[in-house]
Amino acid sequence: MLPYLLWALLFIIVPILLIIYYSLCVETDSGLVFSLQNYSRVFQPIYLRIMWRSVALAFMCTLFCLVMGYPVAYIMASKEYARKGFLLFLFLVPMWMNFLLRTYSWLTILERNGIINSVLSVFGLPNIDLLYNEEAVILGMIYNFLPFMILPIYTVLKKMDQSVIEAAQDLGADSRTVFLRVTVPLSMPGVISGVTMVFMPAVTTFIVSDLLGGAQFMLIGNLIEQQFLKIRDWNFGSAVSVILMTLIIASVAIFSMVDKDSEGGALF
């Protein structure tokens, strides 16, 4: 127990305390002075707008991932599908690659002279502007986070007791009823974890909005990055980080209340 406590103290507690400390100070000519100014600044409309946008985008991304990911997980988990090992492999391999590289590759696909538009030109169709807009950002987010939605749902569906399905059929449920009344409710823990594992990184991402959005959609992640790397206003950056952390902890708490038994197979 003690080694873990020490480790937690050193690597988790102390850094968080440091961030909170920074967030409560303001740099003046006489050094760091205690102040709530950073927090009051965070609540200005312009920054609230940024936070709202981050949450909204993350929400859209999570929704799309759920709608797209559930059927895929379902197909992969059904025993009749023979090539599922290969399909699983196809989903996992990109995850082993660097996040940045994967996002970069979309530039080549979506550019005005990129792959999609080149194909369209071959057929004499007009080119579309697919890059540097909100849609491109959501696309990039979905692409990067989809496996995190599919995997937990797949795991739960796979572990599901087949005999429960048969029992439902036995009692007169056709495929649709089995799906709605049995499969979906029982897969809820997986869905909850998937939603958590997508929403959390989605709300903090900054690379996707920089690269695919042309930096036109400032999100919380961009704001924090800016404060720490370019402006050197660590105090304000810390305040925004604290707000973000609170947001995430709140959402995780809500999610875990629903999934009491932790059957979701989540990574965190």
Binding site: I50, Y104, E111, N113, G214, I231
Partner: protein, 347 residues
Amino acid sequence: MKILRVLAPALVLAVLLSGCTGGGDDQVTLNVYNWGEYIDEDILATFTEETGIAVNYDTYATNEDMYAKLKSGGVSYDIAIPSDYMVQRMIDEDMLETLDPDNIPNLQYIFGWLKELEYDPGCVYSVPYMWGTLGILYNTDLVDDPVDSWNILWDEKYSGQIFMYNSQRDSFAVALKKLGYSLNTRDLTELEAAKAELILQAPLVRAYLGDTVRDSMIGNEAALAVVYSGDAIYCIENNPALAYAVPREGSNVWCDAVVIPKGSLHKAEAEKFIDFLCRTDISLKNTEYIGYSTVNTQTFDLLPAEMREDPAYWPGEDIFRICEVFVDLGSFLKEYDRAWTEVLASK
């Protein structure tokens, strides 16, 4: 497992032997810290041949990375090559050694104006390495108007065909210069005016990019982009339809300079290295490899005519006079940040 037994001692041996550089005992090694892809590595070999001093070469991606590494004090570097504003910050924080000009006779070949830049007038702490301008890279196939003013970036005709830089200082420099103000202004009204201009421009801008602007322009993704001269040279090489211009309102001049961080154990040898870099033939080799503008007057004269007349290498005397170097704005930078956030959030 058997392979491990052979590999392990071999690895240990390799590590030990790599420490040996051959040659006499007491050999000095310089730790050089530079941007990635920012030197002709043959030069390092030549240096070692001529002086017997070995060079340990390390790279970084941004000034901030380099600053963080040096601040942490983990490794001691003898040479670093930060950008102008970063040199200034390091001087302010007493992180640099003063240079002994007697040990750097080749200083005489550096352009006089480069030695008097605001961040380190008189080259007390630093010697210029490469310099350039900020300007407009444009695609001659897509732009038929003359490109000689920042105003073209506000022209509705090019809506959706403009790339701006995803950087506060650079984008505000463009707006401030367009309005005729200094790009180092600490005047809030001037800043707000520039902000208003950028917000006005925002609907026309396709994207605010970082490094990806180079590949995008080479790929004909847009008509106009704000880029640094060094990047412009690279782009033009890869896409001859591109051209570069520095607007008549003036722009930013940037300079990367060589410094010796405090705590270097080989100051004399480091100064030798700096002197070596300033040598005309070495400077020529370096400039040809990197592609940026040379700091050496003699080297400049040795360059072919088309290069000397290309605005990417030399913007011309008149325009040059109204260019400014970025100066560290200290706590006023927060105002720029706030304004920049408001520009980006306006979309």
